[in-house]
C-alpha cells in the first residue's frame, strides 16, 4: 500500500492528490509483471485499466489515423502513465499497441473505479482529469477531439455534480492520522516499553520477591485494589473518597494557579517593560526566589491559620515565581526595533504595551504557565504531605504512615495523571490563544 501510494504520488496526474484519495486509489490497484516482448494490449482491446510503470520500459505505438502519415511512437519509462483510453468517454477500444521492451513492472489501476472515485470527489477528480487531458494532448499530439473525450466535471451549470465538494473534516483527518499511526511501529514499541516496565515491576516484587522489593506494593495488588468495589485499603475507583481527594487537590492547584497567573503575569510584564520598576523590584524578587518553596512551609503555617490556606499559599508562591520570571524574560526577548517602529508610527506608550509587548511575550508567558502548573503540583504535594487534611499528597503520606502501601501507588498514579492533564490543558489553551505561532511552527515544518 505504502509503495503504491509513493509511486502514485510521483506520477504526473496523481501528484498533489490528497493522501486519502491516494490510498483509495491504491486499494483497487494491483501489481503486474511483464517479460520482455509481452504485449500489454493491442489496438482495439477493451480499455479497462490505466497503467503506471514502476520499473522497466514499454513501447507505445499509436497508428496513424489517416493511414498515410507515420505511426506515432513513444517510449515510456518508470513513473510514466499509459492506457489513458480507460478514462476517455465512450471509448470502446484501445487506440494504441503497447509492448514491453524489457522486464517491466506495472501498477494496474481499474479505470472504471477510478472514474467513480473521481465522480465522488469532483474537486480533486476534476483536477486529475484535466491533467489527463493535458498529457494526452501534449505527449501524443493527439487530435484535440481525442483529448476532448476526457470527461470533465463542470463545477456549475447543467450537468454539475450535485454532491458538495468534500473537504477532509476534523474527524476523518483524525481517523486517517490514527490509522497511519497504527501502521507505524511506534505504538507497538510503546506497548513493549510499558510491558517491560510493568513486567519488571511484577516480576521483581511478586514473582522473584527480591530482597529489597519485598515490601513494595506489587502490580497486581495495586490493580486489584484500584478496580475493587470493596477495597481492602479503602481507596479505589468506586469509593467516593478517591474523587474527593482528587477534587480537593485540583481545587487547591486551580486557586493557586489562577492567583499566580493574575498577579504574576502583570508583574512580569511590568518588570520587563519598565526599567526603573525592574531596578527597584527585581532584586527583591531574586533574593526570595532561591529559597526553596518547601522551606516556607513552617512560616506559611505560622502566617496563615487553618490547613487550607498555607497549602494554597505554598502552591501559589511556587507558581508565582515561575510565571513572573518567564513573563519578564519574554518581554526582554522582544526585539526592541518592534517597539521603536511602533513609536515611529505614532503609537503611545500604552499602545506599544498592548500591541507589541503583550503579544510578543505571549509564548514565554505560556511556557511559564506550563512550568508553573508543574511546580504548583510539586509544592502542593509537599504542602499536603506536611500539613494537609485531604488531597492526594495527604493520601500518599497517610498511606505510608498507616502501612497501606498499595494506596501510595494509587495516589502516585492519580497525581501523575491529573498533573499531566492539567499541563496538557494549559498547553491547549496556549495553542488556542497563539494561533499565529502554531501556524508559524507548522509552516516551519517543525
Amino acid at each position: 500500500m505504502e509503495q503504491i501510494s509513493t509511486l502514485l504520488r510521483r506520477t504526473m496526474p496523481f501528484q498533489m492528490v490528497t493522501p486519502g484519495l491516494l490510498s483509495a486509489i491504491a486499494r483497487f490497484s494491483k501489481w503486474q509483471l511483464f517479460a520482455r516482448g509481452d504485449v500489454i494490449y493491442q489496438v482495439g482491446d477493451r480499455p479497462d485499466d490505466i497503467y503506471v510503470i514502476s520499473a522497466g520500459k514499454v513501447q507505445h505505438t499509436l497508428p496513424a489515423s489517416d493511414g498515410t502519415s507515420q505511426p506515432l511512437e513513444k517510449t515510456m519509462l518508470s513513473g510514466d502513465v499509459f492506457g489513458w483510453a480507460a478514462v476517455l468517454d465512450n471509448q470502446s477500444g484501445r487506440l494504441a499497441e503497447t509492448v514491453c521492451t524489457e522486464r517491466t513492472e506495472v501498477l494496474r489501476i481499474d479505470g472504471k473505479k477510478l472514474l467513480d472515485l473521481f465522480a465522488g470527489t469532483p474537486d480533486t477528480g476534476d483536477v486529475v482529469m484535466s491533467r489527463f487531458a493535458t498529457m494526452i494532448t501534449k505527449e501524443f499530439n493527439a487530435s484535440s477531439t481525442v483529448a476532448a473525450q476526457v470527461h470533465h466535471y463542470p463545477l456549475s451549470g447543467p450537468g454539475a455534480f450535485t454532491a458538495a465538494p468534500k473537504m477532509p473534516t476534523g474527524l476523518t483527518l483524525t481517523m486517517f492520522r490514527a490509522s497511519q499511526w497504527l501502521k507505524s511501529p511506534k505504538p507497538y514499541l510503546m506497548l513493549l516499553g510499558f510491558t517491560i516496565f510493568l513486567g519488571l515491576w511484577y516480576l521483581t516484587v511478586e514473582v522473584w520477591k527480591l530482597p529489597r522489593f519485598r515490601d513494595m506494593p506489587g502490580l497486581t495488588v495495586v490493580v486489584k485494589e484500584l478496580f475493587s468495589k470493596d477495597p481492602i485499603y479503602g481507596l479505589s475507583l468506586y469509593t467516593p473518597e478517591y474523587y474527593e481527594h482528587i477534587w480537593v487537590s485540583v481545587r487547591r492547584v486551580a486557586i493557586a494557579f489562577l492567583l499566580a497567573t493574575v498577579l504574576g503575569v502583570p508583574l512580569g510584564l511590568f518588570l520587563g517593560w519598565s526599567r526603573s520598576f525592574r531596578e527597584y523590584i527585581f532584586p527583591l524578587f531574586e533574593t526570595l526566589r532561591p529559597i526553596p518553596i518547601l522551606a516556607w512551609v513552617p512560616l506559611a503555617i505560622l502566617m496563615f491559620s487553618g490547613s487550607e490556606t498555607p497549602v494554597i499559599f505554598l502552591t501559589f508562591l511556587a507558581s508565582f515565581f515561575a510565571t513572573g520570571l518567564n513573563t519578564m524574560l519574554g518581554v526582554e526577548s522582544i526585539d526592541e526595533s518592534y517597539s521603536r517602529a511602533a513609536m515611529c508610527l505614532g503609537a503611545s506608550k500604552w499602545q506599544v504595551f498592548k500591541e507589541v509587548v503583550i503579544p510578543g511575550a505571549m509564548p514565554f508567558i505560556f511556557t511559564g504557565l506550563q512550568i508553573s502548573v508543574g511546580v504548583a503540583w510539586f509544592s502542593l504535594v509537599a504542602g499536603e504531605m506536611v500539613s494537609g487534611q485531604f488531597g492526594l499528597g495527604y493520601v500518599i503520606n497517610t498511606s505510608y504512615t498507616m502501612v497501606r502501601y498499595p494506596t501510595i501507588v494509587i495516589g502516585m498514579i492519580t497525581l501523575g495523571a491529573v498533573g499531566y492533564t492539567t499541563s496538557a490543558f494549559v498547553r491547549l489553551i496556549g495553542d488556542y490563544m497563539m494561533q499565529w505561532r502554531v501556524r508559524e511552527l507548522a509552516l516551519g515544518g517543525r
Binding site: 522489593f213 533574593t287 526553596p292 503540583w377 509537599a382 504531605m385 502516585m412
Partner: protein, 275 residues
Amino acid sequence: MTIASRLKKKIPSRAGLRATISLVVFLILWEAGARSKQWLGVSLPWIGMIPAPTAVLRVWAGLLNDRGYWQSWYLSLFRVLAGFIAAMVVGIPLGLLMAVSKNFNSISFPTFEILRPIPPLAWVPVAIIFWPTQELSIAFVTFLGAFFTVVINVVGGARAIDIRYFQSAQAMGSSQWDIFRRIVLPATLPSIVVGSSVGMGITWNVVVAAEMISGGGSQTGGSGGGLGFFIWNSYVGGSYEQIVVGMLSIGIAGYACSELLRSLGGYLTPWLKKR
C-alpha cells in the same frame, strides 16, 4: 582617566542604588510589620506572625558557632550533590541514547513521560520502603528531581542538531566517535548546562522536602538532619527565628550552587558568550 570618570566609579550605579533602596525598604517594612504588636499594640495579619529581621540576625549570629548548624549545611549539600551527580551520570547518556535511537525512544519515552508528571515528593514513601537507609532514600528522591529535567533537556538539545552537520562530517570521513565528540557533545552541552541548573534548583527543593518528611524523623537530636530538618525542627521546637535562618541558609546554598553551575557552564561553553 579624568577625575570625573574616577568619581563616577566611586558612586554606585543607579541599578545598584535602587536595589539597595528596595531591599532596605523591604527590611524596614518587615521589621515594622513583625514588631507591630510591640510598637503599635496591634498584630498585623500574616506578617505579624513572622519574626523580625533584627531578631533573626541575632539568632543567626549565635548559630554561627554551633556545630550542629554547619552539620546541617554539610548534610544537605552532600545529599544534593549525591542525587544531582547521579542524575547527570544516568540522565545524560540516557538522553543521548533516546535522541540517537528512534526505536529506543519509542520504547522508553512513553514510560518516561508517564512517570514524569508524578512529583518527586510523591516518591518519598516508596523510596523509604525500598532503600535500606534514610540517606539513600533521600538521595534517590533528589536524583529523581533532577533526572527528568536533565533527560528532557538532553533529548531536546540533541534533537535540535542540524542533520547537515552529520552529513557533512560523514562526507568528510569522520568516525562515529569524532561525530559524537565534535558535534553531538558541543551541540548538546548548552542544553545540558540549562537542564542541570534547573535540575539543581529542583534538587534543593526536593532535599528540603524530603528532609522535612523523612530526613530528621528518626534523629532525636536537634541537628544532624540537614537544613530542611533544621527548619522543621525549629518549627516544632517553637524557635521561629531559626526557621527564617534556615530558609535564608537554604536560599544562599541553593543560589551558590546554581551560580557555581552557571559559571562552570559558561566556562564549558565559551562560544555562547553574549556579544
